[in-house]
């Protein structure tokens, strides 16, 4: 049977199933194949906080969304065009997000009475007309997989498990994806179990062939490669990119990297990744708690390493006192906060941007430090390098505010060459710096950077003591002198304020916008997509996105002043908005969503349309 091939410019697919159904893996593989085809991509995994909630329940649903297109994409997509629902729970949990007319591929084998009842379906939605608005493709995924593997020599349980590969095969056929890399991947993954390699490959092929032969699927789709900047790409998540950025910072600074970390969702994967790179001189220590983790990192920094600690909000709260010590000691330290929904334990697997206040103000006394934030998964690599650059050059703790959305989302990354990465080499103090040529003054500042010398233990003649009590200017001796304290408080603020950071860019293609959207961190994608959509509709709008939250770019005040209206969308209750209002006395209007989910482009587009039209 010859199938019709239809061209599409973009597709959003969501794979959804039970936590045990392997949806993250399925999504990952589809993404990887799609990436190799040259489409631009953005992905959004979404999994429950429970390790494995009871099978077939709503809280147990795990999903993975991938958006791919023949042009550059900025978000994982608002509403899926295709939903793969491995069971009734997956269908129910995701239905509301679909566009009318979307394709739904359901695994009919799982639509048993019991499973339907588990999620409160009185009758099967496949049998009534509740799915009339969608294009439903009922597929007996499990039984066909088991059937296909009848002779594969694996246990029935293993055969059933391979149903995700059947689904993947089917989708790959539908969207004309290449599959060699998946077959290779299966060989690697099950290297010790050749029977499973065979079974999974067979399941994949069965799925593909099912698409090819059955009449149920009449159309295949193609999405042409996107025109992307030439180069070598890989698909990468934010956490991976961040870890690689830290490795790169070690290589480019020629310093050992020391990570002190305590596991916490969604930051743990950075620890996991870095633990595998000992060959770069990266030491990872799983500490007894967050306070020990940052303490050990600070101790390592004191000894001349690039000390790093990775955590999420609750961990940053616990680390506050030690970070305040780091501010007083003026040592380099990178604190990574992969934000999640709070307060308290909140929703650990959901995203939020509500730790900006904590990063800026969450310490006792006046304890200023630098704050940077990545705007996309691959940007985490550069943000980590930038955090390390500031920490090392200006001898200060730097908080890097990632969040669950960029951390677990992925996108294609145009790989840089090592040479083009910033040179982060530092100079340790080796000689006395006093006027007499003999004394060492640990708090004598470099007039250019306002940084104090980094004299690491082991350096002969520079023995000195530092601590958390107020220090006399230059000598670093304990001082209770009022004027000295006032001076030190101000210079600590000044040295952060004076860190040169790049000006913020404004995207205002036609230069005729009267409304500026100001964002920071992971909202870059949805804001960008919304602005693009508005512009395409002839509604001018300008976008500026902050990588540096402290210090703020020098031109920000000017930029803000150029627009009639400034809107600040944030996944919090208006923390950046408050900052710029206070600083520039600009009536920046917050637009907030604190639902644990990223903004959809549509939400922002609607809101901004109102603003632009009323501006």
């Amino acid at each position: 049977m010859t199938k019709q091939i239809r061209q599409l410019d973009r597709v959003v697919i969501r794979f959804a199933g039970d936590s045990g159904d392997g949806m993250q893996l399925t999504g990952d593989r589809f993404t990887s194949e799609t990436a190799q085809l040259g489409n631009d991509i953005s992905t959004l995994p979404n999994f429950p906080a429970e390790i494995r909630a009871p099978a077939g329940t709503l809280p147990g649903v795990s999903s993975f969304q991938v958006h791919f297109a023949d042009h550059d994409v900025l978000t994982p997509g608002d509403a899926p065009n295709v939903l793969v629902a491995m069971n009734p729970a997956a269908l129910k949990a995701n239905l509301a997000d679909l566009q009318p007319g979307a394709d739904i591929i359901v695994n009919t084998d799982e639509f048993t009475k019991r499973n339907l009842a588990k999620v409160g379906y009185a009758s099967s939605p496949l049998d009534d007309d509740s799915l009339a608005r969608y294009s439903v493709h009922p597929v007996a995924l499990t039984s066909m997989t088991v059937g296909a593997l009848a002779d594969a020599g694996v246990a029935k349980k293993d055969a059933e498990r391979a149903k995700n590969m059947f689904a993947l095969g089917l989708l790959c056929w539908m969207y004309s994806r290449p599959y060699e890399s998946t077959l290779r991947f299966l060989e690697r993954k099950f290297a010790t179990r050749p029977d499973l390699v065979g079974a999974n490959k067979a399941a994949f092929r069965a799925g593909w062939n099912y698409g090819e032969t059955t009449e149920a699927f009449a159309v295949r789709y193609e999405v042409k490669p996107a025109r992307m900047r030439p180069g070598t790409y890989r698909n990468i998540t934010g956490n991976q990119a961040l870890a690689l950025g830290l490795v790169a910072a070690g290589v480019r600074s020629k310093l050992p990297v020391f990570l002190g970390a305590y596991p916490i969702t969604p930051a743990s994967d950075i620890l996991h990744e870095l633990a595998r790179h000992k060959r770069f001189g990266v030491t990872t220590m799983q500490a007894e708690d967050e306070i020990a983790a940052v303490g050990a990192a600070l101790g390592a920094s004191y000894g001349g390493a690039l000390g790093v600690t990775t955590t999420s909000g609750p961990g940053v709260a616990l680390k506050s006192e030690t970070i305040s010590l780091a501010v007083a000691l003026e040592l380099p330290l990178v604190i990574v906060d992969v934000q999640r929904a709070g307060p308290s334990t909140g929703m650990p697997t959901k995203t939020e941007q509500a730790d900006l206040n904590l990063a800026l103000y969450g310490r006792h006394g006046e304890a200023p430090l630098a704050v940077v934030a990545p705007k996309s998964p691959s940007d985490c690599f550069y943000a980590a390098l930038e955090a390390a650059r500031i920490a090392l050059t200006y001898r200060t703790p730097v908080i890097l505010l990632s969040d669950n959305y960029v951390a677990n989302g992925s996108e294609p990354w145009l790989l840089p060459t090592v040479d083009e990465l910033p040179d982060l080499r530092v100079e340790f103090a080796t000689e006395p710096n006093g006027e007499d040529g003999k004394t060492f003054l640990p708090y004598l500042r470099d007039p250019r950077t306002l940084a104090r010398p980094w004299a690491v233990p082991g350096t002969p003649g520079l023995q000195h003591r530092i601590g958390g009590l107020e220090k006399a200017d230059k000598t670093g001796d304990i001082s209770y002198d009022p004027a000295n304290h006032d001076f030190m408080v101000r210079i600590r603020q000044e040295r952060i304020d004076a860190i040169p950071v790049p000006d913020v860019d404004v995207e205002d293609p036609d230069g005729d916008a009267r409304v500026l959207v100001l964002g920071w961190g992971s909202t870059y994608g949805p804001i960008g997509a919304a602005c693009r959509a508005l512009r395409e509709r002839g509604l001018p709008i300008a976008q500026a996105h902050l990588r540096h939250l402290a210090p703020l770019p020098a031109n920000l005040g000017e930029v803000l002043a150029q627009y009639d209206k400034v809107v600040v969308p944030e996944m919090n209750l208006g923390q950046l908005a408050r900052l710029v209002r206070a600083r520039y006395l600009v009536d920046a209007v917050p637009f907030n969503q604190v639902s644990g989910l990223p903004f959809t482009a549509a939400t922002l587009e609607n809101m901004l349309e109102d603003v632009v039209k009323n501006a």
Binding site: S32, R234, R279, F280, G281, A292, G295, L415, V418, R465
Partner: protein, 342 residues
């Protein structure tokens, strides 16, 4: 394994270890004696001053690093073991010492302490135990005796104290010792053993706070009573004490503990037995009341230090590495599924 810490080329003296900072404890404080003993002792180690680091928390005792002409960090309350761990693990060429107090180490810092001991991090931990919070002006501490009347417990404290050495042993410490501020020779002998130990060495130093808990250790310091209460542990020697050694520390048959007896067959002290049960039994000889208080090295056994294992993992990984770091980084970035457009 040869020590990664270099030997000092020139012989140093105690004076070389005095910093230029004025010492600011209360006149008569036991901390002075400890400081003097340590400054005098350090040259023995033949470690260059710049390779020695003292890390402390907060408390009177924690002012210590300021007075040593070495590298030093006066950190925050309770966190010295954690900070020192990061330093020690990443810098095997340094000799890292932690100075802490009973509040600093056992109250707020209890968790870092027990984890450092469990890990056997290569730290020499000196706990100045005055059984009181000195710096905050006299509240009871986790080593104060039950019923202690202080500013925060005007009708007496309600909780039993830790026995710091029992706690350390429960936390898998490999080296555990006790000494006293006023006995310089003994103090230095314990430091010597601690310095030689690879891994965590935990040393409790009884220290008099003459302002808020004066005379806490008089029973074992006062020449009039000392000999009848103080038990000096010496490796390989029978454990006896009292005038003319009239008391023996004996191990009653069938018992797991130790008791003191006039006459009787004393046990022979051996700090190197692997089973911590012996050292644990020794620690139970003394409670808050000090009537029979052992000092010396209770336990001294060998177990790989955390630092060694971590360094070995790094070295193994480095040995397998090929190419320059830059080349390896390029490979790392390009790892996995990549594609090229052009």
């Amino acid at each position: 394994m040869p020590s990664p810490i270099p030997v000092t080329p020139v012989k140093l003296t105690g004076k070389d270890f005095k910093s230029d900072q004025e010492v600011r404890w209360c006149p008569g404080c036991g901390d002075y004696a400890i400081l003097a003993a340590i400054q005098q002792f350090m040259p023995e180690l033949n470690i260059p001053r710049e390779r020695t680091v003292f890390v402390s928390g907060i408390g009177c005792s924690s002012r210590f690093p300021y007075y040593m002409n070495t590298y030093g960090m006066h950190s925050i309350h309770g966190r010295a073991p954690a900070i020192a761990t990061g330093l020690s693990v990443s810098r095997p060429d340094l000799s890292v010492w932690v100075v802490t107090g009973d509040g600093d180490a056992l109250s707020i810092g209890g968790n870092h302490l027990i984890h450092a001991l469990r890990r056997n991090v290569n730290l020499k931990i000196l706990l100045f135990n005055n059984r009181i919070y000195g710096l905050t002006k006299g509240q009871y501490s986790p080593t104060s005796e039950v019923g202690k009347i202080t500013k925060s417990t005007p009708v007496g404290s309600a909780d039993a104290p830790f026995n710091p050495l029992s706690l350390a042993l429960g936390a898998e410490a490999t080296f555990v010792a006790r000494t006293i501020d006023s006995d310089r020779k003994h103090l230095q002998s314990v430091l010597r053993a601690a310095a030689e130990h690879e891994g965590s060495a935990f040393v409790e130093i009884y220290q008099n706070c003459n302002i808020f808990n004066d005379g806490a250790f008089d029973l074992i310091k006062d020449p009039a009573t000392r000999d009848e209460h103080l038990i000096r542990l010496e490796q390989g020697q029978p454990i006896t004490f009292g005038n003319d050694g009239r008391f023996s520390v004996v191990h009653p048959e069938g018992s797991f503990g130790l008791t003191v007896q006039e006459g009787g067959t004393p046990i022979i002290h051996d700090a190197t037995v692997d089973d911590p049960a012996y050292a644990f039994a020794l620690t139970r000889l003394s409670g808050s009341d000090l009537t029979t208080t052992p000092i010396g090295v209770f336990r001294n056994v060998s177990r790989p230090s955390y630092d060694q294992v971590v360094q070995k993992q790094l070295a193994d990984a480095a040995a397998e590495a090929t190419g320059t770091p830059e080349a390896m980084l390029a490979d790392l970035l390009n790892a996995g599924d990549t594609w090229t457009t052009g």
